[in-house]
C-alpha cells in the first residue's frame, strides 16, 4: 500500500531525529547563554497581519479559511511573527529584546526540485539594537553557535542590501530601470546585467561600476577604492567587522553583490556557506523598518539556519566528501581557498 505524503515533506525517524535533536540542543544552549529566550508562535497566522511585511521570495504559500471566513496562512518564516510579538506582547518593554526559536516554516516548492515545503529553522532575532553593534552581536552568536555544533569550515558572506540601490541612484539610473537591474543581480545573471547596462544608455564608466562592484568578494581589501555613494554601506560593514572577535572576523567574506530575496532587509545582510554543501546553510540581516510596520519602530537584526542543511554540512564535513571540499589530488586548490582568501574584483 502507498500512502503518500506531500512532495517536499518528510517523516523523520529516530536515528535522524537523535542527530537533529543534538544539533538543536547545542544551538539552543548557545542562544540561551547569550540571553536569547526561546519562543513559540502559532504556525497559522492571519494573512492580513503577515502581509504587513514585504516578504518577496518568502511569501507565505499556503492559505486556508477559518470558520468565520478569515484567511489564515502557514508562516513562511519566524522573523515576521516575532515582529508581531514584539509590537503586541512587548509594546512597552525596554529594548533590546532577544529571542530565539526552533520552528517549522512553510514555503511553496519549486516544481521538479528537492526543495522542502516544510523546513525546520533555528534562529535568533535581536530587536532594538542598531548597526553596527547589533549586527556584530548577531554574527558573533552565529559563529559561536556553529562552532558549538562542530562545523569546521564554514564562512560568512557579508554584504549590504542598500549598496546596489544606492549606487544606482547616485549614478542616476532611471527609476524604472532600477528594478530590472536589481532583479538581474538577485538572479546573479551577470551576463544579463552587462547587457542591460549596455542597452540602458547609462554612460560607460557608470555601467562599469554597476557591473564590477557587485562582483567584488573577498577580504577587507574589496572595500577599498569604491565610489563615494558606496561609502555609507562600506563603512558600516567595516565597523561590523572591527567589532567581531578575531576568530569570527576570519570567517567573514565581504560580498558586495549579496542581495537576499526577502524584501524587508534594509542594511547588512549575510549568508552562511560551508564547502561541504552547494547551497547556503542559512542567512539573515538587518530589517530596521519592519518593526515600524507593526507599530513599534525599532532597528533589528536576525538570522535563521536551515537545520537540515546544517545537518547535511556536518555529515559532509565528517565524510570529507563535501561537494566543494578541496580536492586533495595533485591539482590542488589555489591558496586563496584558505580562510582569509581574497577574491579580487573580476575586472
Amino acid at each position: 500500500m502507498i500512502h503518500p505524503i506531500p512532495s517536499g515533506t518528510r517523516d523523520v525517524l529516530p536515528d535522524e531525529t537523535r542527530e537533529v535533536r543534538a544539533i538543536t540542543d547545542t544551538l539552543r544552549g548557545v542562544f540561551e547563554s547569550h540571553g536569547y529566550g526561546e519562543i513559540y508562535t502559532p504556525a497559522l497566522e492571519y494573512e492580513s497581519v503577515l502581509a504587513r511585511a514585504d516578504m518577496a521570495e518568502a511569501r507565505p504559500a499556503y492559505r486556508v479559511f477559518d470558520e468565520s471566513g478569515a484567511v489564515l496562512v502557514l508562516r513562511s518564516d519566524m522573523t515576521v511573527p516575532i515582529a508581531r510579538v514584539v509590537a503586541t506582547r512587548y509594546a512597552g518593554s525596554e529594548p533590546p529584546l532577544r529571542f530565539c526559536y526552533f520552528a517549522h516554516c512553510y514555503r511553496g516548492v519549486r516544481p521538479q526540485r528537492g526543495q522542502p515545503r516544510e523546513l525546520l529553522q533555528a534562529g535568533i532575532e535581536l530587536i532594538g539594537s542598531p548597526a553596527p553593534s547589533g549586527t556584530a552581536e548577531a554574527l558573533s552568536v552565529l559563529c559561536d553557535a556553529l562552532d558549538a555544533t562542530g562545523l569546521k569550515d564554514f564562512r560568512i558572506g557579508l554584504g549590504d542590501a542598500s549598496l546596489f540601490p544606492a549606487l544606482m541612484s547616485s549614478l542616476r539610473v532611471r527609476e524604472e530601470r532600477q528594478a530590472s537591474l536589481l532583479e538581474a543581480l538577485v538572479m546573479r545573471d551577470f551576463v544579463g546585467l552587462d547587457q542591460m547596462l549596455a542597452e540602458s544608455g547609462i554612460d560607460r564608466s557608470a555601467a562599469q561600476v554597476l557591473l564590477e562592484v557587485p562582483q567584488r568578494r573577498g577580504g577587507p581589501e574589496v572595500l577599498a577604492d569604491l565610489p563615494a555613494p558606496a561609502d555609507e554601506a562600506v563603512k558600516g560593514l567595516a565597523r561590523v567587522h572591527e567589532l567581531l572577535s578575531a576568530s569570527a572576523a576570519e570567517r567573514v567574506i565581504f560580498d558586495l553583490g549579496l542581495v537576499r530575496n526577502i524584501g524587508y532587509y534594509t542594511g547588512a545582510v549575510f549568508e552562511v556557506y560551508d564547502p561541504a554543501l552547494g547551497a547556503p546553510i542559512g542567512g539573515g540581516g538587518r530589517y530596521d523598518e519592519l518593526l515600524a510596520r507593526f507599530g513599534r519602530s525599532l532597528p533589528a537584526v536576525g538570522f535563521a539556519l536551515g537545520v537540515d542543511r546544517l545537518h547535511m554540512a556536518l555529515a559532509g564535513e565528517e565524510r570529507g566528501t563535501g561537494a566543494l571540499l578541496e580536492r586533495t589530488d595533485g591539482a590542488g586548490l589555489a591558496a586563496s581557498g584558505a580562510p582569509g582568501g581574497a577574491g579580487r574584483p573580476a575586472r
Partner: protein
C-alpha cells in the same frame, strides 16, 4: 598548479564540446585525453567532468562542479528568469560567445501560416518543443494562447504529422528546418555558451574563479563564428 586553479569544471558533451575543449586548451589545459576518449566522464587531473549539456546546471547547482559551460537555451529552460520563479540556482558569469544559435518559432512553409490560422480560428496554437518553459514564456509574453507539447527529439516531425501547428526549437543554420519544409516565423532569442558557477563556490573560491574569468576575458575574441550545429 593546473590552469583551472584546482576548480572543477562541468564540460558539456555534444555541440558545445569542441568549442569548450578549444577554450580549455587555450587556457593551457592538457586536453588530449579529454578530446580523444569520449567514454571517460571524469578527468581528475585537469579538473574536468563531462556530461550532457542539460545536466550541467544540475551538477553545478549541487556543487559537484564549481563551474560549468552550457548553452543559454539550457539556462533559459532550467533557471528562474525572475525572482520567485522556480529553477536551478546557478550564477551566470560570462558569455563565452561560441555555439551561437537562435531559438525560433517555426511552422510549415505554406501560403498561410498554419500557426496563425489555428490561433485565429481555434483560439489556440499547438506547439511542440524540447523547451516547454521557453516556449510557454514566449507565447505568454506575446499574448497568445498555446498548448505546449513536450517532445524529446526530432521536433520537426511534429508539425509534419499534423500533431501541432508550430515548433519552438534551436537552430544554427536553418538547414534541418528547410529540409523539413519548415519556415522560421519568429526569432525568440540568441543563445551562446555561458560560464556558470555554483553560488557557494563563487564565494568560497572567489580568487581562483575571478582569476579564471580574467584569463578567459583576455583570450582573443571568442570563436563565435563556428555554429553549434544544433540542426
Amino acid at each position: 598548479m593546473s590552469p583551472t586553479n584546482g576548480l572543477t569544471i562541468a564540460v558539456p558533451r555534444g555541440a558545445l564540446f569542441a568549442g569548450t575543449v578549444e577554450l580549455l586548451a587555450a587556457l593551457g589545459l592538457d586536453t588530449a585525453e579529454l578530446s580523444s576518449n569520449d567514454r571517460k566522464l571524469l578527468f581528475d587531473d585537469i579538473g574536468v567532468i563531462t556530461m550532457r549539456p542539460t545536466d550541467v546546471p544540475t551538477y553545478v547547482e549541487a556543487g559537484a562542479a564549481d563551474l560549468g559551460v552550457t548553452g543559454k537555451d539550457v539556462l533559459l529552460e532550467q533557471t528562474a528568469q525572475r525572482p520567485g520563479e522556480g529553477g536551478r540556482e546557478v550564477y551566470e558569469l560570462l558569455d563565452l560567445g561560441y555555439g551561437r544559435c537562435t531559438m525560433v518559432l517555426a511552422s510549415r512553409d505554406a501560403p498561410v501560416d498554419p500557426a496563425h490560422e489555428a490561433l485565429r480560428r481555434l483560439g489556440v496554437m499547438r506547439v511542440a518543443t524540447k523547451y516547454p518553459r521557453i516556449a510557454a514564456r514566449h507565447l505568454e509574453e506575446t499574448g497568445r494562447q498555446a498548448e505546449i507539447v513536450e517532445v524529446k527529439g526530432s521536433v520537426e516531425l511534429a508539425p509534419l504529422t499534423g500533431m501541432v501547428e508550430a515548433i519552438v526549437d534551436l537552430t544554427a543554420t536553418g538547414t534541418t528546418l528547410r529540409e523539413n519544409n519548415l519556415l522560421v516565423r519568429e526569432e525568440i532569442v540568441e543563445c551562446t555558451a555561458r560560464l556558470i558557477a555554483n553560488p557557494v563556490a563563487h564565494k568560497l573560491k572567489a580568487a581562483p574563479i575571478d582569476d579564471l574569468l580574467e584569463q578567459l576575458r583576455a583570450l582573443p575574441a571568442a570563436t563565435g563564428s563556428a555554429p553549434r550545429g544544433a540542426d
